[in-house]
Symmetry: C5
Subunit: 91 residues, 5 copies
């Protein structure tokens, strides 16, 4: 998993039923310090995240399908939680 930040949304025509009524969010991958790394994923959202939210992203297909509670779902990345706090030891 990694820490990300929702930066936008994608509107696309996808026929697979697993995507019906699912928002597709653009999530920038952050460093632990909160700096964008340049990488991103288009994620399915299960926690009602909004643009600007810091989120936890599960970036593995089998794990993502388990979060969605579907054995069959063509997804690789899912937003699994809202990040409340990051504590870093910089000593």
């Amino acid at each position: 998993m990694y820490i990300g930040q929702v930066s936008g949304t994608v509107v696309a025509t996808i026929k697979h039923e697993a995507f019906h009524a699912r928002k597709l969010l653009i999530v920038d991958r952050l460093s632990p310090e909160g700096v964008p790394t340049g990488a991103y994923d288009i994620c399915v959202d299960v926690v009602q995240a909004g643009v600007g939210d810091k989120v936890l992203v599960m970036d593995e297909g089998n794990g993502a399908r388990q979060i969605l509670k579907r054995a069959v779902a063509p997804v690789r990345a899912v937003i699994v939680g809202i990040v409340d706090d990051v504590e870093l030891d910089n000593s």
Copy 2:
């Protein structure tokens, strides 16, 4: 998933039946802002995308096989949709 842009086609001799009558498209991976990142995938297409189209790419084998509705298909990346709009919050 990531946002890509179809930049060409590949003609290759592949014997596996899963590829029969499937176009193989070269898809450049884009940043959310629409800039090519230098990475690409050779993708199977299920949405009749053409050169120049902005597309959504599923880049995980198990998810790709589910899009193709085949348990057995040697694919890793599939074009799952045409991107209609990308909304970025740059505030």
Copy 3:
């Protein structure tokens, strides 16, 4: 697997039961010489690792689920051990 160092913790609201009572740790990926590479993972911990510990990280979902002894667990990276010693041949 790779050698990492725990640099912090993440507090997040995740509803999936596999995460109940599991600490989520930020683990920086190290080079064999012990230098941070810039990459990191948010890991589930099964060995009671603490901030500053050098750890061994299993970074594959199916292997991670086996460490957790759950067929169903939406995880990709798990801390599987505390590193006691790294011996490098620099001859």
Copy 4:
């Protein structure tokens, strides 16, 4: 999948029967324009590719096993076809 070019062969002692009588080829990953990217894979070959050939590489284990028609085969990358032509739109 990606476009590669066979640049050499590896001779190694591997005991697993899936490798018996299989050539192991070094395949450089190319950009769509045909420039080596610096990445490579050691690939199993099913199409009798030779050094210098441009090939299509399936770089996912489950897909690779399906190309080999074996449920059990410890492979990640397989040469699935010879590239006959690459058409790029550079307009």
Copy 5:
């Protein structure tokens, strides 16, 4: 798979039985020409490789488990063979 070179060993306390009596080796990923790329994996060894040996590494979990002949083993990278020779065509 990739070509690697064993550069050291890791001593770690891991409780999972799949690791009992298995040496954990640090393997530097090499270019086809034999130059370290900076990447590495902590690998399980099944061929009695030693520090300095050039080896072939299977870097996919399902394939690695098949080499170990265990359906359940939390591994991602396994040394599957000793490299006897690399032939590169540099014409």
